[in-house]
Subunit: 447 residues, 2 copies
């Protein structure tokens, strides 16, 4: 066989031991918070039937699906399977397929890779993990609150200061309705987002270009002029939605949205959240999809865009035959969170230290002397390595150094005769001999 | 959009919350043992270049690779990528590709799904997890010992009684050499395996049919007649390998194999292993691949075949341009271990209990009263749910029951006035009121 220069497909990654330790730290932290709120993990297959995936992510999404060649005789026929593109559609499929085994409200989380045939570029991969948490089968704002609490808890544990932005699709719909342009929700939201950058006049110009009526533009002007406290703004919006805007049009949807916003912020106040939470009317994330609350989380001390986001959806499972099931969920962006923790140097140093103690080996007899001690330390929960070969001590020291092992134990014939174990702290240089049977004292030294 | 009946590709599985809790229990147990021995986790991409995979698993394996259609304009061309078929070849590719970042001896583990276009049948899936641990870059038998220790520790923790079978490829090669048929290692090993079932005469007949000479058959007869203690057998084999067999041929490879076996069993004796360990000369697992020790682990109380196995290989990375790197590893069969634990009812009951306490909700005020208490309990490490809707209590009780939540807390206006929390143990029926601020007492009750 000829020798191949090894490589991996573009857009994919190997994760070495340090990256894995750090990724596991992120996932373990997130998982522990999900569990504290009663969310349970599921997994779905990497492959789904293409019929499950197609048409769910728009035309562009269909193109970005990785398709799997049929096996055997059907290889030449059109593929029937594709790789998971996100965790949301498989979750919807799962809920419908297993609806009789599930008790609603159903709280699940899922941490798995997804694949997209996107053009690889910095920070965009063809294989990456998603980390989704959803509750389905309840319309209560308590769920929105829990998601906010979980975001707060996760980033609190990770030591990342974040800001939580909340919007509500119904409020945005209300804006479009009272502007007399119920089909222009996206345009109006984009306009709101641009206010700071281009100013009110330019925004109005753009709205005119998008075909909004003069009256509609006047309404947008009223919305963009909202001022005062959170309660003031809510009160002003309520009056607009009740028919008090320039158009005189009222919006029940807008009023319902305000009610949701008010309830959610009331709950957030009642329970108390560390992170600043802000009603952000410019937040347009996933607008075609969400029907209530919309969330986005940003790191305050590191510029990287959204590191977590989500919202409420009302008909996720309808396409698979189970209509009217409302749910709400968020997704944590593992790669970006990794970058934030790296950038801010927030990964605990101990993560990369896998092994606590290395037993150096001088020969066959010393090896047999060491092995039972190593066994007992492992049973007591210490990560211990025994160097496999009786090579030069310098080489064994180097191994400890390269692997970041903080303690080394070198034992020769004198230790064997005395029944002792020699331990050395490689950072401080402190060295001490213990009775081989004095497990507790050894454990204390290794702390 | 029309309604689709949801399904998943044949041979794949959804894992619901109970299965996931149980699978995580297995993986967490295995992981904790790997870590106690200084093995560190890596992950490789689901997709590898087909050039990495093809030719590594035999002709049959090539056929069973899932190939991924190229995206965009290259869709009609032959696929360039395939799904991971096992964890061994990607590991070899990883070691060569990252050889400059790795310090040898390199100890890694990897727990990821693999995909095979096998015909699905009971217990055989097209997507399943492998769980591999390997050390590469050392020939020391200490590594073999560690693998045996890890097997012992994993199954000890899981409560599964196992038998560990060990063989050595060099010994088998030695048998073939002294039988004058160095190309018939597999035939001879199969013959040894059949002795108990068909008897010595039939085995000799078969060996003749396979083209073994009369003298060779006589040697096989000598091997199959080995009796006595472990030391007796080793001594007798040594004499055969030194030229004392019917053929008079000696085998250096056989002698080297015996030396390895002797050293490994000596180390096992020195450290002590719970599980019975046995030299099993009929063990032929992965014979084309292994060059030294061969391992196989079987559950003693549940008939299911091998639940863990592996061995030493000498040229895993050669095909990728890094020759002469000896390694040894084992793979845990997660699906079979799952079946054994299920069959023997060894899964801890607490695994399926995700949430400890459910706060029932009577109304909006009660909700706001409860939320901070729930928050504090979660912060103290208790998994707590707050029922999201103030529906009938019966429905909330049913939710607790279906989800196996052992404690419920129902609080109305009287508890709010008194500043207390009412807790009920749903198993024992015990009910008690606590001051809402008496967190420690509440935690004690929930234990």
């Amino acid at each position: 066989m000829s020798v191949q220069k090894p490589s991996i497909p573009k857009g994919t990654r190997d994760f070495g031991q340090m990256e894995m330790a750090r990724r596991n730290y992120i996932f373990d932290t997130i998982r522990s918070v999900f569990r504290a709120y009663g969310y349970q993990q599921i997994e779905t297959p990497a492959m789904e039937n293409l019929s499950t995936l197609l048409g769910k992510y728009g035309e562009e999404g269909d193109k970005l699906l990785f398709r799997i060649q049929n096996s055997g005789e059907k290889a030449a026929l059109a593929p029937e399977k594709g790789l998971r593109y996100d965790l949301t559609v498989p979750f919807a499929r799962f809920v419908v397929q297993h609806q009789n085994e599930i008790s609603f409200p159903y709280k699940r989380f899922q941490i798995q890779p997804v694949w997209r045939a996107d053009r690889p570029q910095k920070g965009r991969y063809r294989e990456f993990y998603q980390c989704d948490v959803d509750v389905i089968g309840t319309r209560s704002q308590v769920n929105e609150l829990e998601l906010v609490q979980m975001v707060d808890a996760v980033f609190g544990k990770l030591g990342v200061r974040v800001g939580i932005h909340i919007n509500n699709r119904k409020v945005l719909t209300g804006f479009a309705e009272i502007a007399g342009a119920p089909d222009k929700v996206v345009d109006i939201t984009v306009a709101i987002d641009k206010l700071d950058k281009i100013g009110l006049d330019k925004v109005k110009e753009e709205m005119a270009e998008k075909g909004l009526s003069e009256q509609g533009i006047a309404v947008i002007g009223q919305i963009l002029s909202l001022e005062g406290s959170f309660a003031d703004k809510l009160g002003a919006m309520r009056r607009l939605f009740q028919g008090g805007s320039a158009s005189g049009i009222s919006s029940q949807t807008g009023l319902k949205g305000l009610e949701e916003v008010e309830e959610l912020f009331g709950l957030i106040d009642a329970v108390g959240i560390q992170a600043p939470v802000e009603l952000d009317l410019s937040l347009a994330r996933g607008l075609n999809y969400y029907t209530g609350a919309i969330f986005e989380v940003k790191a305050l001390d590191w510029e990287i865009g959204s590191i977590c986001g989500g919202g409420r959806y009302d008909n996720l499972t309808g396409i698979f035959g189970l209509p009217d099931l409302s749910g709400v969920g968020i997704s944590f962006g593992a790669d970006r969170i990794y970058d934030v923790l790296t950038g801010l140097e927030l990964f605990p140093a101990a993560l990369t230290q896998a092994t606590t103690l290395l037993f150096a080996v001088m020969g066959a007899d010393e090896l047999k002397y060491i092995l039972p001690i190593a066994r007992d330390l492992r049973a007591a929960g210490v990560a211990v390595e025994v160097y496999p070969d009786a090579v030069k001590l310098r080489k064994q020291f180097e191994y400890a150094e390269r692997k970041g092992i903080p303690f080394i134990s070198i034992n020769g014939s004198s230790e064997m005769e005395a029944g002792t174990v020699n331990l050395k702290n490689l950072q401080s240089g402190e060295q001490k001999a213990f009775k081989a049977s004095a497990l507790q004292e050894i454990l204390n030294f290794l702390k």
